[in-house]
Amino acid sequence: MARRRKKSITNPFHTAVRQSNGSPNIVNDIFKSASWNQFQEVLKWSYPRYKNGSFFCGFAPNSSSQLAKWIHFPFESPSEALKWIAATSNFKSEDVAKYNSFVLQVESFGNNFSDIHEAAKTLTAETMMSYTGLGTLLYSLSKVHGLDYQRRWMNKNLFVPNSSFANVLFYFKGIASESGRDPEDILGTMFATLFVHIDDPEFARMISNVVLNTPVNLVDFVEIAKLMANQPIVDQYELAANLICSNQHSLRDINDENLSLFWNCMVNTGDWRAQGIRNIADELTLEHVNIPLSDHHSVDFFNDLLKDPTGANLNDREFRTTLANKFLCSQSTPASYLSSSCYLVKSSNSIEEFQQGIARREIAQAFNSKLSPNQSGRRKVSLTFDDLAHELDAAIPPLEKREIFRLTCLSGISEGRFFDVLLCLYETTQTDKNASAYFPTVAFFNQCSEDSVIDASTDPRVPVAISRIKHDIPEEGNDLLFLSVEQFLDRMGLHKPSELNALPGQVSNFLFEACTLDCLRQSLEFGSKLEVEEERLTLLQTLAKADLRNKENYEREAHKIIGQQTVDELLQRYEVGKIHCDEKAIQEWAKEELAAKFFRLQDFIDADLLPVERDADMEFLSHLSSGKDGKFTFKVPNSEALSIASSLITELANKYALDPRHGIDSYLSLGMRHGEVEEHLRTPLSNRQLLTSKGPTGYEASTYWCGTFTESIGESIGETIANFSELYDKALKDIKDEQIQVRREDKPQGIIDLEWQQHEILSFAATFAKTETIEDFLEEFSNTYWALVDIKLAPSREKVLREIAPVLNALLDDLQKEVENQTGFSRLGPFSDAITRAREDLDTAIQELASWHNVARSTDTEPIALLDIISATQKIVARLYPRFRPSLDITGDTHVSLTSSLHVLIEVFKALFINVYEHSGEDRPEISVDIDAAVDGQLVVEFSSTCTDIEVGEAAAELANARIRTGEYESRLPKEGGSGLPKVARATVCDGQPNTVVSIDRDNSLFCVQMTFSLLHL
């Protein structure tokens, strides 16, 4: 007898899961209707059966190919999302516990990346692959085996050959794991390459959270949780732990069952953060902050990490990347919580953001010290401007002071005390200039209107404060600074800053820091650039007398202004071309915006991944869409170094060419297209009465020729000219709008083609291996760029002559023919002569237009006579020392001109003149300069001046020669301003040896300096 199969009691939840094959909708329905225990049971039953299904496969993947497709799981509240994560984490509590144990293991390994790497590999193999663990794995991999190995490993083991969105996360995780990356730059890259293509903001939030572990509030949490519901459980757990830790100040009062469920999960899986939170003992509140912000352990930690928290040896970017290196390796260790808190506090733009950052520190501190803030002797201070400002005065460690400064300002902003906040900025930056980087500029200007700032500028400290943050002010910082300065002067009943009595202290600071050239050029009191410069020079001279402590700073700037004025005057005489740009502004932009890429590329090069060694082709590995397939393809570059190098070069070249404010095209617009071209090409014809302008009823018929010919012929010519004028103006408009343009997609007929070809990019890419700093790179780029532009402009000039000229000449031909047809005369004396003369003038104008297509940089590109350089330098020195009026005699090869080293030679002659002024003892010494350019590429200059005391002169000459011989002059370069001979010696170095000889001519009582320059462009 067959045994009857025992009928099992059917579980309706199991049935539902089975029937739907583990579909997310059914799992969601069950999640919403089942009790906590029931749902735990469903997970236990479903996961083994459907772990290869589309929903459950991503819970605990062993490899990237098992990651689940992204879905939106419809949580209705943060509490519901917490319940889900508590359930999944509890279900895989063993794995989560192993992860938590791994976190503390990583902390104990410190900078031993080999051990970290082994631990990360083990974690992935024994539990699951998670984005969180992957960060540590990739970071340690690049530290142990280098970037190249890391990239190859990612290509082999990570990127999946399908449309998984995970590839995007892998790619950015890879960047974040390269070490030396600033999260701000990574976010910038994400925005530029990814977020601009994504419509869903929650997707963007999720990406930045997964890659950078940014703090989450309740709103962000629930949105990200919707996307993470079927992703690795460790990542879900980390998201919820992030919520708990980031919001410790506000969550302590919330009584939520699901919050407790997750909290229990943190405790049960041995999360150190649960211990830290427990140790805090409810001492974090929304209304207070614990001062000092950092306990002794944290102060030591920051001192060790940052070496010099005053920032003296770290620029802003280095400061941020040093911190980021800690928290991008492992996002959840106590050390990473401390470093990320420091980073977050510095970038916070509200008290809430500040508290999110400080909460991480509090948790780590409480864990490390096992003490609550109160137990560790820290005091509760109200989050009010007054209380915090009081603490600011007492704070001692520089980092502590700066952080309290930021919080004080944020509190002041929230209380609307903008004037006090600006005074706080002034006072704090008086003793710590770098603290200005801690001022919450964005938050301040979001709340405080321009008018409020100006109205508050009745105190000189306000404009000074503005000047200290002007580079961070949205839009034009200098405009606001000027309005603030003007307001203060108005209040004092003054028109010009030089009318103020330059007392040391606030007024001196106002004059020096706020009344800068950029600021004063906006004043209505000065009618020209020269007047502005003279005002600034007056201020600097007054300050030098009134404030002796800073005399050197004032004099240095005065020298710079006078020197630049003379150089500008000199260069102006040589300029013919109009192709130029504001290179200084572009380079400033590049230093800020391209630094991240540059440093990243340098890291690749350091790892022997040269940009030009690889195949430049790109491989498209993946694409993304939040349910919008095919909308955007994200390209993971195959040769990262080349990709970065190409992108750096292309971005910079585009900036030079097309930047709307500072680029060549902008200057074309201002220098040529802005009426210049039309006027230039119209004048030859209008001067000959061959053009009329458009009036209310169209182009007016010229009546001029009625006085020359009979009325009917005159009228006929007049009407023909009216028609011709319309055609001619149309042609000019086309030339201006379409041809005098940098060629680009929307201006295909542009005659100035500045685009870098692939071979030019590849050729320049090799330079990266030779440039260590971004300044070196920019200098190299500038040299190459202008050399290339010079070459690329030749076809432009050709096009002006070959393409533009014929169009205009053909129109003149047509005019002539039309007049012939209309009048019946083949030649009409004065009219025909006018056309002929107009053709000649037009030809000259076109030649000039072609010559405008030359580089007109404000550097040494045009040949300049050495005589002019000497004379300009003499002028500079005469302005610096008005009594000094030497008599100058120049002999030898006086015809020599140079196309390079202008600035070097100006510096050399300036040093020589000043040397004579300081040591000759005469106001009107005789100076002779003998020039010898007989040898190719070599310039020998003998500079002799009256020497009244031969013995003293000989001693000085001997000393100078000894210094030059022994190389001691090198060490004196930074300080020596007086004699300046070290500067001269440096300028004559060839093959490592200076070629400067100092001697005394006893017979003629002369102090002589003979210099041999190796110049290539004589």
Binding site: L483, Q522, L524, P660, H674, E676, K694
Partner: protein, 153 residues
């Protein structure tokens, strides 16, 4: 009415000046060829309305164009910002030879600037009109705005 014309381009300045004086012979017209001089004249004369170019040099330049580093592409917006703080009753009409400023993707159209300035300076800003030698639309615009200002006086 007192009119101030701030325009650096000589031919355009002459064309506008000729038109205004011919069309409104009872008006007085003052001229300035750069931002700072324009602001000075505005402050001193308190004109009833101002015809303003968008791109201007900070100071006058003898050989404008050969070295245009002094040019300020958005001088017009700065002019409005400053004039607003001078607190006198005036209206500003931008007359530009260009319909676009900058280069894509940062291209700003004259219409875009018009909207921005209408929002920021509603009390003084009138409109932005396009000037071209090849058409006379700018003339009818100036006439229209002139009448409107006169009617509100």
């Amino acid at each position: 009415m007192k009119i101030l014309l701030v325009e650096d381009h000589l031919a355009k300045r002459m064309a506008i000046k000729d038109f205004v004086l011919k069309e409104f012979p009872d008006d007085t017209l003052e001229e300035a060829d750069c931002l700072i001089h324009g602001l000075r004249k505005a402050r001193d004369l308190e004109p009833d309305y101002i015809l303003l170019d968008m791109s201007l040099p900070n100071y006058p330049s003898k050989d404008r164009g050969t070295r245009a580093t002094d040019m300020r592409p958005f001088a017009g917006t700065e002019f409005l910002r400053r004039i607003r703080r001078m607190n006198f009753d005036t209206k500003v009409l931008i007359v530009s030879m260009f319909e676009t400023f900058g280069v894509a993707p940062s291209l700003i159209t004259l219409n875009g600037l018009d909207e921005e300035m209408s929002e920021r300076y509603p009390d003084i800003y009138l409109s932005a009109i396009h000037y071209a030698t090849s058409n006379d639309e700018w003339q009818s615009h100036i006439k229209k705005f002139h009448s409107a200002i006169e009617a509100n006086k």
